[in-house]
Symmetry: C2
Subunit: 206 residues, 2 copies
């Protein structure tokens, strides 16, 4: 365990905690108080750290994800689709006055993009909830720009799928999907803030 | 307070909690146990709800943001830049073997985009941390696609700035920035998942 800690930079007490919570499979017992940890442990530990540090997930949520990763029922071809519900935040039901308008706008958007069959996708509900909140606050301008945001999101997703296409190893592909979805959100958010700061600076000095 | 609750759909105990935590300014006292709440309260309450539901913020973080919103020191022209540090998650210091490579790649990206002056921006550190995590996990493919992600993020930021440009009212503009940054992350993440699901479906059936 000391070697595992040295190889990953994760403190021993944290590794023990991950073992207790089922985030990491137990090592192969060698002697009393000793166990062997292999490359699979190193990889899983790095995955758990990445999800905890940049995926914005609680330990309980990571435990759920790890079970999903280890589930042999997840098919190769539909990795993205099958892994997505596990990593999509639960949608909030839209209750206010903006909810009806938001629902119609999301339905229109899905139709325009040819995404009709995704009407029941958890992210369609999340999208409706966010739009309803924005409408409640009178930020109707966002509605006129939805196609612009959708185009930006499509460009990012196309890049995701290209990276996934390069991955032959199946277990690897699941990792890429999970990491790509969660860490990708943080990556894109960071890039968006940088681009905003750059554009805001230009607007001020130019 | 019953009217405020009815007008926003936020339960009275929740409103009392927000008042105690300083998320909502006190109403104008009318009589013992009675206070008047105006349109500003309705608006602020909706903002707090939106941030709690879709901004992924804790109550403490929202309290910090609200103080920032009420700060007259925030200048009109640099709203985006000034509001950003408050809504950017704190960066994690990259410690592992991937950190050095990640730092070089982020520096190169900033130079390529003409974003050099943003090297000390919190989001540059976040970006470095995410990249370092991905490199630690052997997901080097992301490095080759950084320009694609940056282009998608730039498109989203350009849309953000266009929406901000339509907002004349100063208090409104601060709201748009804060909401746009936080809820925009959720909005773009939801659209990206839909686009991923669509592309994954195409790849399977096409």
């Amino acid at each position: 365990m000391a070697d595992l800690s040295a190889g990953t930079g994760v403190p021993v007490p944290t590794i023990k905690y991950y073992l207790r919570e089922g985030l990491l499979p137990p090592g192969r017992p060698l002697a009393r108080n000793q166990a062997e940890y292999g490359p699979a442990h190193v990889r899983r530990l790095k995955l758990v750290r990445a999800l905890a540090d940049y995926g914005g997930l609680s330990i309980a949520a990571i435990a759920g994800l790890v079970r999903h990763l280890d589930d042999p029922g997840v098919a190769g071809g539909t990795l993205l689709a099958e892994a997505q519900p596990a990593v999509t935040p639960p949608p909030e039901p839209g209750g206010g006055a903006g909810a009806g308008r938001a629902r119609r706008h999301v339905a229109d958007l899905l139709a325009r993009k040819g995404w009709d069959r995704l009407a029941a996708h958890p992210s369609a509900a999340t999208l409706t909830g966010v739009l309803a909140s924005l409408l409640e606050l009178g930020l109707d301008d966002v509605l006129d720009r939805m196609d612009d945001y959708a185009a930006a999101a499509e460009a990012a997703a196309a890049t995701d799928v290209r990276i996934l296409g390069d991955v032959s190893d199946r277990e690897r592909a699941v990792e890429v999907v999970v990491l790509g979805t969660l860490l990708g959100d943080t990556l894109i958010a960071a890039l968006r803030r940088l681009a905003q700061a750059h554009l805001a600076g230009e607007a001020c000095t130019g």
